[in-house]
């Protein structure tokens, strides 16, 4: 059994090698770009080592989707007020399904960098001549590609067959998804990065992590669409980055918000990417300074 797995894995690598090598030969003239793409490839490949984990991931995702869709169906069948927020029963079910799939596609190793800082293993990255922020992002992108193929795609297939959901017909929705997903992903990555950077200044970061998870769960729209929030909270939620991570891609994809509204949100996403990008670089500079001047 184990030998078989090894043989399959070697087979996969042997086959993928040809195309990969050709790509990197072509990239030889752009060493920086080639490095980042290579990091993404290797991060993808590294995930292959943990086969059991992605089966569990698929099952977990399906369980969550089952729970939330059942919950929404129940709530909607027992209440009249719900229609007023703009969701039909089938609408809320497809929101729940796609929000969960997008959430799974974005899952990140948000404790990796923090662990490196806490254990001092970051020294091994600092002795290498590369941009740690760029390399971490590239690795994350590779991991995310892996999540798309091994978790998000199979879960989507199962949902289309067994749950009462369907894909939107209009190509505009897919275009909006591509743009809002990429921007949302970058926002999520940089929020995680900034929280990880805290480990340079505080020893015990657990409470900050808890805060981040809490805010993400509540305000990203992954579980409850923001339309259900009371009016006095909604404006405040618009001024923190979380709703732009899951709510905006999900709502634009399923057509809950119009393309015109989506464009407005994309502008906000762009502002957040720029703001957080700047903050990430500034904080990383300060962190490096702290590391090399104060000794971490």
């Amino acid at each position: 059994m184990i030998e078989n797995v090894g043989a399959i894995k070697n087979g996969v690598m042997a086959r993928s090698k040809g195309a990969e090598e050709k790509l990197f030969d072509a990239l030889e003239r752009f060493p920086a770009l080639s490095l980042y793409i290579k990091f993404a490839f290797k991060a993808f490949q590294r995930q292959l080592a943990y086969k059991f984990e992605y089966f569990v991931g698929v099952v977990n995702g399906l369980i969550f989707i089952f729970i939330f869709t059942s919950l929404w169906k129940n709530i909607f069948s027992n209440s009249q007020a719900t229609e007023s927020v703009g969701f039909t029963t089938s609408g809320i079910v497809s929101y729940a399904v796609f929000a969960m799939i997008i959430r799974i596609s974005m899952s990140q190793d948000d404790l990796g960098v923090m662990g490196k800082i806490r254990t001092g293993a970051i020294a091994m990255d600092m002795i290498k001549p590369f941009n740690f922020f760029g390399v971490t992002l590239a690795e994350n992108v590779g991991g995310t590609m892996f999540h798309w193929f091994t978790r998000a795609a199979p879960i989507l297939a199962v949902c289309l067959i067994f749950f009462d959901v369907s894909l939107p017909r209009h190509p505009v929705n897919y275009l909006l998804l591509a743009v809002t997903w990429i921007l949302g992903y970058l926002i999520y990555f940089m929020v995680n990065w900034l929280f990880a950077m805290l480990a340079f200044w505080v020893i015990e970061t657990f409470s900050f992590q808890l805060m981040k998870y809490g805010m993400f769960t509540l305000f990203s729209g992954g579980i409850i669409p923001l339309d259900f929030f009371p009016d006095f909270i909604r404006p405040a939620v618009a001024y923190i980055p979380f709703m732009y991570i899951l709510y905006v891609p999900t709502a634009s994809f399923i057509g809950h918000i119009s393309p015109a509204e989506a464009l407005g949100f994309i502008a906000f996403q762009g502002v957040w990417v720029a703001t957080l990008g700047l903050a990430s670089v500034v904080v990383w500079r300060a962190a490096q300074k702290k590391l090399i001047i104060q000794g971490g």
Binding site: N10, E28, P31, S34, L35, K38, F39, K42, Q45, R46, Q47, A49, Y50, A121, A123, M124, M126, I127, K128, P129, F130, L291, I292, I293, Q294, G295
Partner: protein, 339 residues
């Protein structure tokens, strides 16, 4: 400064500010509100020059300042004072530029990717250090031959034994052909055979590739087998700096007597012709110089006559003993850099 000086430290100093903890519950509550700090000087005015091709042992007890010095030379720590220069680059000012010139191996940490086969880790490093394909393959073939990496190439790093992992890390640190190599305890935890392999390899790259090596270790056998020069650092200061051969000729003539006394530990009077190196419980390590003075047999019979000796054994002095003596008594020996 001499032309072939590759690494140079001048008055290098590094202080750390540490928060003072207070004992007890009340103390820890108090320390929440006041931040009393104290300054620790980890590296205190260190100066040395290392020439191209030297193999230097950088030795000291835990906390003596070895790693702090190495961190400053690899560019991941800025000194509080003084200056360091590695291959013409100030490492902490141009970390990335310096990183291209140096190879680093930390015995306690790996620079390889845990989940990747070794060959993929090496391929990533090729991209990081921008080594051209042709040079990479040549360099890898040579390193793989010396370190016998062939059978390990397809194995994920997490499945390698510590000895295999160290060989892989050594190859990883040398792929880009650095002129300088920093090794922090590369033989820690290895068995005798693996240690021997690592030592033979290090000797080879020092001699054949001409790589300048700074090695920190607690294993004095490493030093004895490898280093032409020893720098002993104690409490942040250089306690001794010179050729290994000179350390031997100055401190390792004669014999070491390990003497166990009957339930007491006397003070040995000078007349016996022995100097005390170390003492614990009712045991003493005494040094017999043998330059002029009484013959060894006379010294031993005097010892038996004057004291209640339970057991006695005679050893050849080892670098470890000498280094220990220097830690204990400080640098009573004159130091000079020009080994």
């Amino acid at each position: 400064m001499n032309d072939d000086v590759l690494i140079s430290c001048q008055g290098l100093r590094r202080e750390f500010t540490v928060a003072e903890g207070r004992a007890g519950l009340l103390g820890s509550i108090k320390s929440l509100f006041s931040n009393k700090t104290s300054v620790i000087r980890a590296v205190d005015d260190i100066s040395f020059d290392i020439r191209a091709g030297e193999f230097v042992g950088y030795v000291g007890e835990n906390g003596a300042g070895k790693s702090t010095t190495i961190k400053m030379l690899t560019g991941i720590l800025t000194p509080t004072g003084g200056r360091a220069l590695v291959n013409g680059v100030v490492p902490y000012e141009e970390r990335v530029k310096n990183a291209f010139n140096i190879g680093v191996v930390f015995g306690q940490r790996s620079q390889l990717w845990w989940d990747l086969p070794m060959s993929d880790s090496l391929d990533l490093l090729r991209a990081i250090y921008r080594v051209p394909q042709a040079r990479y393959h040549e360099s890898l073939a040579e390193l793989s031959d010396w370190l016998e990496l062939g059978p390990l190439m397809k194995m994920p790093v997490r499945k390698l034994s510590l000895g295999q992992r160290m060989r892989a890390d050594l190859a990883a640190s040398l792929l880009h052909g650095p002129k300088v190599m920093f090794l922090d305890e590369p033989t820690i935890g290895l068995d005798i055979i693996a240690k021997d392999n690592v030592r033979r390899f290090l000797k080879k790259i020092n001699k054949e590739r001409g790589v300048t090596i700074i090695l920190t270790t607690h294993d004095m056998d490493d030093i004895e087998a490898l280093c032409d020069r020893i720098i002993i650092i104690d409490k942040g200061k250089i306690a001794w700096d010179g050729a290994t051969a000179r350390l031997k000729s100055d401190h390792m003539q004669g014999k070491i007597l390990e003497v166990e006394f009957h339930d007491y530990n006397p003070k040995i009077h000078e007349a016996v012709g022995l100097t005390e190196m170390k003492s614990e419980a009712n045991k003493k390590w005494l040094r017999y110089r043998g330059d002029g003075g009484a013959a060894l047999n006379e010294v031993i019979s005097a010892l038996f006559r004057d004291y209640c000796v339970k057991d006695l054994s005679i050893h050849e002095p080892k670098v470890a003993d000498v280094v220990k003596a220097i830690y204990q008594h400080g640098a009573e020996v004159g130091e000079d850099g020009g080994a």
